[in-house]
Every structure is written in C-alpha cells, then in structure tokens.
Subunit: 352 residues, 4 copies
C-alpha cells in the first residue's frame, strides 16, 4: 500500500519546473504523477532536461489532455506563466475542487484586485480564487498555509526582502519611509525564454540594473510591508542581473526608529528565526554570501551597523530557484499535506 501523495507539475519545462523535479524525485512522500508542458507535449522529460535521463518519469503532456475530474491528484504545483495561470487554475478547481494547489506564478500573490489591475494592466480573471489564496511565505504565514487549498508561492526577490523586513517593521524598529533595497539576482531568475538580452555573451562579464522604478515585485513588497507596518509603505527597490546562475542577494539600507540600533535589529531577527530550520541569522556584523545557500532551501541573513549612527545594513540571501521558488513550494506543499515541513528539501547547500 502506497502512502505517497499523488502530485503533478504544470509547466515542467521551465527552470522552476525542473527545480521542483530535483526535489520531488527524492521526496519520500510524493509521487510524481503528471508533468505538463504544452510545447513539448509527447516528449520525455530528458529531452528537455537531460539530467533526468536516469529516472523514471511520466512523459510530458498538454494541459488540455488532463482529465482533472478522474485523475484525483492530491496536489498540483503550478509553474505556468502569469495570466495563463489564473485561467488554468480556475478550470482545474472547478473540475476537481478538492485538489490542493501551490502556485508559483504572481497571479495570486496580490490580495487587492485594484493593485493587481494596476500592476498587471488587466482585471483578474479569477477573483474568488484571488481572495481565497494564502500568501505562502512559510515562516510568516505557516498557520494559514496548513489549512489552505490554494497557496500563492512568493516571488524570489520578495521572499529575500520580506524575511528580514517583516519582523523589523512589525516591531516598529525601522523607519518605514527610508528603506532602500538593492537586489542582485542570478540569471535563472529570468527564466528559460530565448531572448537576446539573456544570451551568455550579453550577460557574462558585466552587471546591470533593470526594471528600475517599475519592477512588479514592488506590488508584493508594498502589500506585505504595509501589512507589517500598519501603514502604507513604499520602498525603493532596484533589481540587478548578475553573471551567475543562482542566488538573490538583497542589500537593504535601513534607519533605526525610536533609538533602535543595528544590534537591536539583529536581536529581533535572531529571536524571530531562532527555531526556524530554513532561516539562519549570522552573528552580528557578519556578511553572508549567496553561494553558501546555493541549491538549498536556506536563507542567510546578516545585520551590520552602518558608520552613520542609527543606520544599519541588512543583507539577506537565498537561492532564487530553491527557497525563492521551488523548494519553498515543496515546503508549502508539505504543510498542506500534513507532512514534516522539511521533508525532501533538507539538502545541504552546494559550495563550491
């Protein structure tokens, strides 16, 4: 008798899909029963990602070919593009309402329909689901996630910045109006689409900012920071592309509030995350490196005093494909299915 839950991945041909597989192939309680990829339907997974050749996996199928009513999946990971996602999931849940879903797209992260319409340029097509969805930042919303049917897995930039800043804002330890987030990302964050600006020779041996003043992850940051601060918060956030595959590195400049020092901020974070398996607070003054979390579900956070009294530099780093996407999705799924939270995602980081 199998005690495994039957799971599927929608959009298995993208990088987050492949990364989900890396974790799920070795997950002791999940059975991979479905892999979809519309443009690669009919192919084997190893045709898309040769590293999976040694493993037995279902062939890729088109989403439309899935018989949702009879398939009886326990949980679906959805790694489809924005906008497509809301249509597909509305359909899936209409046909198989007891399916649990972890969605890795941006479609269900924003609670406010107006904010969604503003940042994405159109009305949301599945408003009821938008209201139902729970924001899947595990360390903050664990309780709600356990009971959720639909979880919106947070963005990679947002997970990196929210883990340190939400507790600091909640504690009223920093000025909410003076937060500057300078974020650096590896290239996998931009996905597998064949675009000129993502070619090796266009991005190696150099660095550049993008989406300056208008990156969509800002909407997600605003939502969570405003909630934490109890007032509207608008941050300065600038993402950069680095010549590396994996890793988000957020250098966050903050000013202490009501006499709070960098040491106080460190104490708040150490207290908050002391028992968390996947968030590690470095000793005060120590600087994390993105490579030390590579391939793992860990987030490393450091707090350093600026030479300007009252100011601090908070640095947070994680692997954008792992904790920033796929392993956090499995972390959410573990909670939703009643498993130990760390199951299948406790791999040690790979450095060098």
């Amino acid at each position: 008798m199998s005690t495994k839950k039957k799971v599927g991945i929608l959009g298995a041909s993208g990088y987050t899909g492949a990364e989900l597989l890396r974790f799920l192939i070795r997950h002791p309680r999940m059975e991979i029963a479905l892999l979809t990829a519309d443009r690669r339907a009919g192919q084997a997974m190893e045709d898309v990602y040769p590293q999976f050749a040694p493993y037995e996996l279902p062939r890729l199928v088109a989403i439309d070919s899935v018989d949702w009513t009879n398939a009886a999946f326990d949980l679906i990971f959805c790694a489809l593009p924005h906008a497509t996602t809301q249509k597909v999931l509305k359909d899936v849940l209409a046909k198989a309402p007891s399916t649990k879903i972890v969605d890795l797209s941006a479609d269900f992260r924003l609670t406010d329909p107006a904010s969604y319409a503003k940042w994405y340029g159109h009305e949301h097509q599945a408003l009821e689901l938008q209201q139902e969805a729970v924001y899947g930042l595990v360390e903050i919303y664990r309780r709600d996630i356990k009971k959720a049917r639909l979880v919106a897995n947070p963005g990679c930039y947002t997970t990196t910045a929210e883990l340190p800043l939400i507790p600091l804002l909640k504690a009223r330890a920093i000025e909410p109006d003076e937060i500057v987030i300078d974020a650096k990302s590896g290239m996998t964050g931009a996905g597998r689409a064949a675009k000129e600006e993502m070619l090796f020779s266009e991005v190696s041996e150099g660095v550049h900012a993008y989406g300056v003043g208008r990156h969509r992850h800002m909407a997600e940051l605003d939502q969570e920071f405003s909630k934490a601060a109890g007032k509207d918060v608008v941050v300065s956030f600038t993402p950069h592309l680095m010549p590396m595959n994996r890793g988000i590195y957020a250098t966050i400049y903050v000013r202490g509030r009501r006499g709070k020092t960098a040491e106080d901020m460190h104490a708040i974070l150490a207290e908050q995350y002391g028992n968390e398996p996947f968030v590690h607070i470095l000793p005060f003054g120590k600087v994390p490196q993105s490579r030390h979390v590579r391939g793992s579900n860990m987030t490393f956070i450091g707090v350093i005093a600026d030479r300007q009294p009252g100011r601090a530099i908070v640095i947070s780093t994680l692997d954008n494909l792992a904790k920033g996407a796929s392993s956090q999705a499995v972390q959410n799924a573990n909670l939703m299915l009643g498993f130990a939270e760390t199951l299948g995602i406790d791999q040690v980081a790979m450095f060098p």
Copy 2:
C-alpha cells in the same frame, strides 16, 4: 540504540572535505564524529565553510590530537595531501588496525612501487599498505572493495576516462596505441590553495592546458588501461582548466579494432553499465554535457561516430568533486560498511 557508523574526515578544510560533508550530513547511516584540519584546529566548520552553519558538527581538531586507539572509528575518509597521507594512515592503522579507510589522495592508487617512485620522485613510505590497497573504481572493482580495509579512491580525470575505456579495452574493441584523451576540468579540481594562477581573474574568460605530457594522473591511466588491455598502454592525455567550478569532460578519440565500429563500442558500454545506478550511457550519437551531472554521483557517457570510418569519439563527464572524489568515496564506504551502495549519494543533479 544508534545504528549509525562512526566516521571521520581527515582534511576537512579542503574542497573534497567540504563535499564529503555535504553528503555525510544527510547520510542516514553515518555519524560524523571527527573533523580534522591542522591549520584550522579549534575553529568551527562554519568558520571555514559558512554553508555548514545551520548544522551541528564537531569542531575541527589537529590530527595529532586524535586518540586513535580509543576512538573506535568505523571508517575514516582521508582527504589529506599526497605524501602526508601515507605517513598519517600508516600511523592510524598501526594504532587502530580495524579502522576502514577510504583515501582520496593519490598515495595508494598505484600498485607498482617503481611506478610510484618514478612519478612522485621518492620511495613510498608505506609499502605494505600500498600492496593492500584496493583501487576504488566501484563499477569495475566492486567485489574487491566490499572486502577491503583500505580503498584508494580514484582521481577525477581517471574515473572519467576509465569508466568508458576499461570495458572497451577489455573487449579488444579499440586500438590501445591510438587513444587520445582531451580532458577539461572545472577549477575545484585544483583545490583551495591560495595560488596566483587560480585567482578568479587569472582563470575566468579563458582556457588553457596544463601539465601537458606530464600530468601524474597518467600513471593511474597507464596502470588501469594496461591491466584492461593485457598489454602496456600509453595514452595521450592533456588536461585543461575551464572557467567553471565543477565538472570533468573527457573527449576521447579512439580507433576501432578488428572491424569494431562506433556502434559496437556503444553496445559494449550499454551492456556493461545497463544496470548501474550511477553510470548512464546516452543513446548512440548523443553528446553529454558536464552541467547535467553537476552535484550528483552520475557519470554520463556518449559515443559518436567520427566521419573517418573506424574512428569514434567517446565523451565521458562527471562532477569532479562528487563522482570524481567525494561521493564516489561515500559509494566505496557504503560497500565497505555493508550498506546499500546508493545510500546518501542519490541526489539528483542540479541544473541550471
């Protein structure tokens, strides 16, 4: 009652030491009871490799401080430099003769004392152990390894080249006198020593051969190929350093013998490795990529026909720190301790 075996790592501060830890921390049947690093003695492992901060590990100690007689280790992984190794292991086995050892250095790979003296410039200091040692190329010497006390884990270049070539030579399918091995390695193969020629700016954005005509891994190749061919074999072997961290990629040029074609060679390898968990033979004509085995214990091998009749190109690739060193060491240890061979080293490759 613990069912775990007590293991230690000598030389834990090098890259192969760190990579051993990556696997052992999650190994279900091994308990890490000792970590040595003479120059870092007294420090925590996280001071040397910050990625280990989240885990409880013994502090680093000096080798001389270990009480071998009373410690009762079940197995020791030795990741010390060449020459030091033979002295240390001679001492360890004198004091604790029932300890099993997997040695990752070159010290016990050569069977012939004369060959050792020629390539290393001095007499071997532990000749009896040299004779006792079993060459730890698991897929070829599995039976002997299970019974061994001392296993010499093969070199990274040699594992890459021997896995495809030993079966072809044994089958008399290729000309032993016309083998050209052009090997490309990631930088971790050169270790963690602070040398000018290994600085980022010296090795990025370029490629170069090194040790041309005189790399020590040649002695190991000669030994194994001559054994397989039943006659003296001397190959052309040229190693190159690539601007990447991990991966060995051996492009091997061979000529078929007695009418043997590239297809025949492919069939021999497919037959030999059909049931091996860690060697994957690609479909005939397909070309492997080093990145698809990154971080895993897998070896990928492809066979392609050259346009010159009777000639073939055999390409073999693995992760130099994993199957080329540390996870093969654990694979050996699993066999020596009577565990399932795949225990703790069945991680899926990490790409991208």
Copy 3:
C-alpha cells in the same frame, strides 16, 4: 582633401559587425560610410550596441535601400549569414564592380563547387565569384590577397588550426592521417541569435562538444590541409563550447613523420612566423592561454613534446571575434587597399 577610404559593413548588428566597428572607428585610413542591418533599419547603432553611443556613426539602413551604383564604396565588409551572402554580393558586384569585398561568411571559402554543395546542401548561387575569391588567411596567402577583389575571410576554428598545421604539412613533418584537433570556443562564436541553448544559464558552469563528426568548418580544413599536404587529408575535429565570451583554443595531437620530433615542428613554425606581426610562437614546451590574446589580432602557438616518442601536442589560440573574424578582415582590407598591414589592428591584448 580626405585620404580616407570609404568603407561599409553589411550586417552590422551581429557580433562580428560590432567587432569590425571597434577596430574601424579608430582606423586612421578608413571612413565608415555605411552600416546595414535589415531588421534594425532606421535605428542608431547605439540602440543595438550601447558602447557606440559616444561616436558619430551612420544610422542603420536596409541593404535594399543602398544605391550601389552611385555610392562608390572603396571596400565592403560583409558580415551577413551564409547563403544570403552570395546573393547580396553577386548583386553588389554587378552594380558596382570595382568595389573590393572582404566577406566574413562561409560562402566563398570553399573553392570546389562539389564540396560546397555537399556541406551546404544546395548549389552555389554565384559560381563565378566563388572561383574568383581568394582565401583570406593572411599569413599564407598574402600575395594573392593584395591583388584580390573578393576575399573570403577564414573561419575562426580554421584560422586557429591552419596557422600551425599548414606549415607542418607542407614540410611533410607530420602524419596527415593522424591529426586530432580538439577545439574549444567562447560563446561569441555562436553569434547573437536568441536561442535557448545559448542562454547564460544553459552554457555557464559547464562544457560540451557540439557538431561532433559533422561541423562545417571541416570542409575548410580538408581543403587547406589537402592542398598543403599534396594529398587528401581528413582530420578528426571536435568543437566545444566554453563558458567564456571570447577565444578559440585548439589542442592538436600529431605524430611526427620521417623522424621529425616536436622540436623539429617547433623550429619549422618559428622559422615560418619569425617575422609575422600577428603570430607568436612560444618557446618550445610552453603552453599558451586563450586569455593572453583576448581582444587582439594575435595568434599564440605552442609546441610541446608528448611523452610518447614521436608525438607532439601543438596548441594554437586566438580571439575568435578578432583574428578569428573581424580584425583579420581588417588585415585583409589593409592589404587590398594598399595600407600597412597592421593599421588599426595593433591593439595590445586585454588581460585580465
């Protein structure tokens, strides 16, 4: 009165087009009068390559909009794709027969129409020009190039391999039937087309061979080597893609003929290239690195004895975009226009 010659670049939006501009902007005797790029027609060059923003350059135009009859260009660099090239140049030379042309495509490199048809799968569309074209490997065909109207600039792999091998074959110093060329290339060699397999995350941190047994540069090698050897030569040639932008690195395995040693080979090359400004023969036994020619028109060649008597390893390296394409094109143009050969292309290599 201007003493500058009026030149144009067809296909200025590719990497070789941009690299031509890098040299031509500072060329003391050439005036850039035309830049074409059909898909970017109407745009400024800085929209395609921002590094050119500080310089005054003609806007990009479509090829069809050029009035060849009246424009009176002295010389055209053609950096268009294969097959398109022969149609365009046939038309240009029909309308403006006195225009000199350096073509960077493969269209005019093969002399034999049958060889062309075999490797490219269709009949050549400009057979007369094919017969007229001179192969632009400057150090070998300098005399013919000076008098040529149409020069076929050699491929990057072929320049790298031919510079060392043509003199050795001519001198009958090596066995023509046992040549193995293992070539490694930077990613710019693959051009600027937006393809999934050229994305940063697909090619960084790894290496792989491609076109094994069937790369089209083989036809060019066969032609030149057969001519040099005075008999049909078919080599083993395997190209690889490296995680770096620039550089070709050819590791060539040869066997001496009629008692010729590696030292003899070195002497032949040193003699041949002793006075060449752009070919540097390293001292015997020294190994070149691709990074030491980066950005320059230099080729570095080393000859090392193999440990197998009678065998040698010849290593040749150049910058695929410079000597492997654009600066060699300028070198050809200098000869065709009667300028000093080194004019505008004597930049020192950029390392680190």
Copy 4:
C-alpha cells in the same frame, strides 16, 4: 630626434601595472623606459604577463637599483601598494625633483593628515607631498592637474561615484544626508595577490558585500562630497564583489532637494559633461551596463526617476582598471605633459 617623453612604471607586475602597459605600448608620445617589480626583478615582462611577449620592453628591475638622479624620467606612474608608496616617492622626488608623478595608490588622495591617520592607522610619512598632491579626478580638477607635479589618481569606486555626485551636490540638487551608494565591482579591483577568498571557486557563481560600513574609499568620498556640498557629508557606501573581471557599477539612491526632480538631476549632469570625451550621460530613464565600457576610458551615467516622488536612482559605471585606474592615470599624465587629453586612451569599449 625623438619627441617621446620618457616614462616608467613602478610596480609593473600588478593588474594596474599591466593595464598601464596595455595603453602605453601604443601611446604615440610616451616611451616606456623603466619597469620595476621587486619580487620579479630580472625577469622579462612576458614572464609575468605573457600577453606582452610580442613587444620589446625593458626587463623588470628592483626599485632600489634605479639611478633616479641620472635617469631623467619625464614622468613616473606609481602602482605600488599603500604605505610603501609614500616612502618611495619621497625618495624619488628628493633625488629627481623635476620628475612628474601620477600615483595610483591611496597615499596622496586624502588632503587632511588627520583623516589619513584615522583611516590608515598611522601618520603620513610624506606630509609635504601630501599637501602638494592634486586629486586627479580629471573632469573636476583638470585645471590644477595641468600644473601639478604629483597627482593622486582617484580610486575606482570613488571615480564612479564622484563623477555623478559632485555636480549634483555642488548644484544643491540632492539631500547630502540621504545618499546611499551600492557599488558592485569586478574581481580585478582586488588585485593579483594570492588569497584564498579570491580563488575562482570562491567568487564565481555568487555575490557578496565586503568592508561593510568600513571601506577606506569612504574617506575619499567624504572629502570630495563635503567639498562639493560645502558641508560635512557622510554617505552610506557598500561595496560588493561580482563574479566578473572588470567593471564598477554604482547604483546610487538620492532624494531631490528644494523641489529638484530626477529630470533636473539629469539636466545638470548633461550640462556638466556635454563636452567631455570620456563621460557619457545616457538619455533620461535609460540604464547603463558595465560591459559597455569594458576596456575603455569611458564612464556611462544614467538617471532614472524612482516611483517615490522626489527620489531618483543615479547609475554610474566604468572599467575599474581603465578609467578607474590606469587609463585615467594616462589621462592625467597627458595633461601634465601638455599632450592632448585623449592621446593613447581613446580605445573603443570591447563588447561582447
């Protein structure tokens, strides 16, 4: 009769020394008459940097062996380490007082002896020279540089940040108390010293901040910004190391003052640098990339409006070895010797 000036490089074996040579070998008015490198004395330059093999250059000598009194150098580039520099130059100028000097170290950048002592931990050993030295940020201090005997070439981080910020502070267009500078540097900025933390495998595939809250370039920034603002300015400045060779990329967060908008800031910079050959202001809202200035003496600056009213993001980028060190040094030397400012340093950037 030679019209060339006789120049020397002290400390030719470091990266800035090699980069100086790259420019000086082709400089039409300078003759390289001296190369020193104490630890490599007696060697040829090509033994230290093989790319220089094709050129005739003086052999490396020890500084102590130079006969300053009789050598009659017109100008010396000093690329020695901090602290050593002040002793050496004091001696040189005592013996040959008419020698002009461009110093690339930090020794003469700070005007205030107290500031120097605070940041460097000891009293300055050449106080008179410290007072005499002119700060060599050409676009700001051109007039003084022309008359100077001793010029202190600015640091790479500081040049990057000062070029955009000095004019904005002088114009009172930004709040001096709310400047955040997040800077990213290529690895050549850390020099050629063999340190573990600079090995390829330690810095590739990841990013990290360093010197957080205490980098010495802060002293230089404070000095120049306070001078420009007419009041004490203390900025937040965090440097990061990127997995790339060359390039500094400073993302600067500022708040407009007295109603000044991002557009106003852009106008101020466009006005200031409109006629400068080596500073290019991008169209408003455009984001520069470090790779587009690689190898050149150019600085690219962009100004983008933040979504928070009144705030702007100013991005400045240059090549740390070129405009951030060696080609700016030649720019200074050109002015000091009465040459055209652009002589020998007008190479076009190399991308890709």
